[in-house]
Amino acid sequence: MDWSLVLQEWRLLPEVFLKLVSNPMLMLTLALGGITGMIAGMLPGISAVMSMSLLLGFVFRVPSEIGLGLLIAIYVGAMAAGGVTAIMVNIPGTPAAAATCMDGFPLAKQGRVKEAVEASFSGSFVGEMLGEAVTLVLLPFIALIALKLGDWEIFLVALVGITLAGALSGDNPLKGWISALIGLVIAMVGMEDIWAYPRFGYTTELMRGFNFVPALIGLFGLAEVFMVLKMKTPYQILGEGGWVTINVKLIWKHMATIIRSVIVAVGIGIVPGVGESAACWLGYDLARRRSKNKDNFGKGEVEGVIAAEAANSATSGGALIPSLVFGIPGSGPTALLIAAMFMYGIRPGPMLMLERPGFVAEIVILFWLCAIFNRLGAMLISPTFIRILSSPREILLPIAAALGVLGAWAAGFTLFDIYSMLGFGVLGFFFRQKNYPLAPMVLGILVGRFADTSLRRALLTYSENLTQMLTRPFAVILLIFLIFTIVSQVRSWRRKRRKRLEIISNSE
C-alpha cells in the first residue's frame, strides 16, 4: 500500500468538496436521487438495487459525477428509509433493515412510531457520516486487511452472520438456525460456480436458480400480508403527526453504541458479498450484549433500532474499500457502482488513486452530502409516508402485495420469479405460524452461494494441508467467535426455558 497515495486523498478533500458543492446540478441530483431512494426504500417490494439498476440506463446520459452522485443518493436514501417500513409494517425495505424489525415494529405497536423512526434516521445519519469518516481515515489499514481476506475468511463471515441472525431473530435459536440452513439450501439451487453443475435443476427455471429479490419479497412481504390479513381485526399502527428530525439527545445518549456499530460495520463491510447483510446483525448483537437493558431487546428497545440502522448505513463505507481499491464489489449496490464506473471509463483497482487523484475523496464526500440531503428529505417526506403507512392494514397490505408482484417481476422479467415469490410467501407464512424467524432464511439465501463457492475454493487452496486454515489469524478469531456464539446462545436459551418451566410448575 502506497501511503503517499492515501495522504493525497486526504489532502484533496477540501478542494474536491468545494468543487462538488459549487455544482448546482449535482446538488439538485443528490436531493432528487435521495428522495427517489427513500421512496424506493419505503415501498415494500422495491429495493435499492432494483431502483439503481433501473436508472442505470439514464445515468449514462449525464456526466460522471452526476451519474455516480445519483446512484449513491438512491443507495443512501434507500438504506436509510428501509427502516421505516421495517418499523411500521414489519416488512424491511432492504435486507439490511431486517434487524431493525426486531425492535422497531414492537415500538410501533406500542404507539411509539415517531420515536422509532427518529431513532432509525438518527442512527442511520450518524452511522453513514461516521462510517465514511472511519473508512477514509482507516483506508490504508482496511485495504491491508482486505488483501489478507481469503475465501476461508469470507465463508466464516457468512457463517457468523447466519449464526447470529438465527440466534437473535427469534426466541429459539434452533428454529433460527433451521431457517438459516433452509435458506442456504435454497441458495444452492441452480448452476453452481465451480463445475457449472445444475444442482437440484429439475427444470430449466430451477437450473437458473432462485432470484434473491422474489425470495426476499415473498418471505418478508407476502408472508407478513398473510399473517396480518388472516386476522379479522388486524392491528393498527397510529403514526403521530409532526416532523421527524435528527434527535441529537438520543444520538448523544447512545454514542458509544453507534461507534461500536460503525466500527463493526466498516470491518465487516469489507468482506465481499456478505458484509452488508451480516453487519446489521453483528451491530445489533454487540449492542444487545453491552446494553444495560439487554432483556428489553426484541420487545421495543430504542437502542436496538439505533444499533441496527447505524450498522447498516456504515457498511457502505467498508463496502467501498474492496470496490474502489480492488474492483471487488462489497455488496449489490457497490457492484452497480462499479458497473457505472466502468462505463464512465473509470477503472476501480490498485491504480485508481494514481490515474484519478481525488476520486476516492469525491466518492466519500458524495456519501456525506447524500447523508445530509437524505436527512432533510426525510424531514420533508417521512410525515407523509408515516401517514400513508398508518392506513388500515386491510387497504395497505393488498397494495403492498401487488407492489411485491411488480418488484418480483422487475428482478428478472420472468413469470417464474413471480411464482417463486408466491411459493416463498406461503412457505414463510407456515414458518411464521410456528415461530420460525424468516430473517435468517433470507440471509441464508443471500450469502449461500458466496459461502459455498468460498468454502470449496478455500478447500482447494489448502488441499495439501488443511490445518493451514487454522493458522490464519482473522479466521481463527472468527472461528472462536462462532463457537462462542453457538455455545452462549444455546446456554442462554436453555436457561430461559428452565426458568419458564419452573414458573409454570410453581404456579401449578
Binding site: 444442482r199 401487488a402 413469470l415 482447494l460 488441499s463
Partner: protein, 151 residues
C-alpha cells in the same frame, strides 16, 4: 405441539431429500466429495436433519402425536385459516390466473377489487376509489417512473 411436529417432520424429510440428492451429485478432482457440488448441501442437510430431529423429539415428548387429529379438525373450523386460504386464493388467481393472460392493469384492477370486497374495507364507492388508486399506483405510476415493462 402437533403443528411443531408436522413442520419438524417436513423439515426432516426435506433434509433427507437434500442429503440423498447431494450424494448423487458427481465427485470430481482429487479431493473427492469435498470439491463435489454436493458437499455444502450434504453438510447443510445433515445439520438440518439433526436440528429438526431435536424439534421432533421435543414435540413427541410433549405428546404432539396425540393432538394431530384435533389439529386437522380445527384447521377445517378455524376462521383465520379460512381467511388465509381466501387471501391466498386471490393472490394465486392474480399471479397464476390473470397475469400473463390479460393486460397487467386489468389483472391488477380485478385483484384489488376482489380483495377489497372480501376484506370489506368500506362501502361500494370507497372500494372503487381505493381500487382505482391502487391500480394506478402499481400498474401505471411506478412502471412509468422506473421505466420498466410490466408483465
Amino acid at each position: 405441539m402437533a403443528g411443531e411436529l408436522m413442520l419438524g417432520l417436513f423439515v426432516s424429510f426435506f433434509s433427507l431429500f437434500v442429503i440423498v440428492e447431494s450424494l448423487r451429485m458427481p465427485q470430481r478432482g482429487h479431493l473427492g466429495i469435498m470439491m463435489s457440488p454436493g458437499f455444502v448441501p450434504l453438510f447443510t442437510g445433515i445439520v438440518l436433519f439433526l436440528l429438526s430431529m431435536v424439534i421432533n423429539v421435543r414435540a413427541l415428548r410433549g405428546g404432539a402425536h396425540q393432538y394431530i387429529g384435533s389439529l386437522l379438525r380445527s384447521i377445517r373450523n378455524e376462521e383465520e385459516i379460512r381467511r388465509f386460504l381466501w387471501i391466498l386464493g386471490f393472490m394465486t388467481l392474480y399471479i397464476v390466473g390473470l397475469i400473463g393472460y390479460m393486460p397487467f392493469i386489468a389483472a391488477t384492477l380485478i385483484y384489488h377489487l376482489l380483495i377489497f370486497i372480501y376484506l370489506k374495507i368500506g362501502g361500494p364507492l370507497k372500494i372503487v376509489i381505493y381500487t382505482l388508486i391502487a391500480t394506478a399506483l402499481v400498474a401505471v405510476f411506478l412502471p412509468r417512473v422506473f421505466e420498466m415493462p410490466v408483465p
